[in-house]
Symmetry: C5
Subunit: 83 residues, 5 copies
């Protein structure tokens, strides 16, 4: 999973039927690129999140047939070295 930051919300009136009831977020990855993700966890702008791609992105949604290839899996509290 990749670590990204939430940048904002996206408005999109014409879209694939299978995305209808999901929130779409703009994320920025660690090389500065902006990507669109489905957000089932309720992340807010500025949050650091980790995201799944591929089939895992679909399985992370309430409906696994959601047509997403990038889904927020969790909001990061912090990370720490082992020990």
């Amino acid at each position: 999973m990749e670590i990204m930051q939430v940048v904002g919300r996206m408005v999109c009136t014409q879209r694939a039927a299978g995305l209808n009831h999901m929130d779409l977020r703009i994320l920025r990855n660690n090389s500065g690129k902006q990507l669109v993700a489905v957000d089932p966890v309720g992340a807010r702008e500025g949050n650091w999140v980790f995201t799944a791609t591929g089939t895992a992105a679909r399985f992370a949604c309430p409906n696994p047939a959601t047509q997403t290839d990038l889904t927020i899996e969790g909001i990061i509290d912090y990370w720490s070295p082992d020990g």
Copy 2:
């Protein structure tokens, strides 16, 4: 999902059977590379769209057996910071 811009249409007389009835579009991604996508939403040249890859690309088509790895999922109206 990635954000790309529609550049044009592609003509291709010899193609895989499972793509027969789908419109093919040329998109430009954010590093300037041109890619071919299936377009089930009716995007036009100049539109900003977001696209799905992998199995999600197939599920975004009316027929999920469509042999695509890149499908336009929606046309972007605008995006905005949370608030």
Copy 3:
């Protein structure tokens, strides 16, 4: 799907059983890298083609269990801006 050019043919006597009866082609992608693709459409050296990856690459073959992650989906005649 990505746009690539056919460079040549590959000979490979020891290979996975599920590739036995498929033609293998060497393609060059837009950053100059050479890749190996299954060719069910009969492309020739110099042709510009577009290719599918992932599960779509398998579904583009007569037998969807073909062990390919890159398959030629069509030969490009030309592309044009929308009008």
Copy 4:
């Protein structure tokens, strides 16, 4: 599979239901990027591991429905030239 090094542990209270009981690790890949992986093998900070992506990442977990796209598959003891 890619070779990466374990950097630390991640704490994340809000996350997708299907990740609940899995340890999450921060790994560094060979270009210095930090990624989040599910760890079913018990790797420790500093260990060199190899990881699977895609559907293989899910199958490498006790529960194949785990919503992961990166899973540690093994801890590397050493590698050696053939012969």
Copy 5:
């Protein structure tokens, strides 16, 4: 499929159950990066091989549930321009 060269063998005592009886090889891709692949064809150090990723990597193994995302599909004899 990508063209890579076999660099050596990897020893790894703690690994995912589904990889138990498969040989693991270290390959070098065309940008010099080292990757770990399952080898069902018996490649040797120095061989040029082509590899599959994704679901094709699993289907190229005797047991398609093998937890691999990179599998050697064949040993390259030579390649030649079309004629």
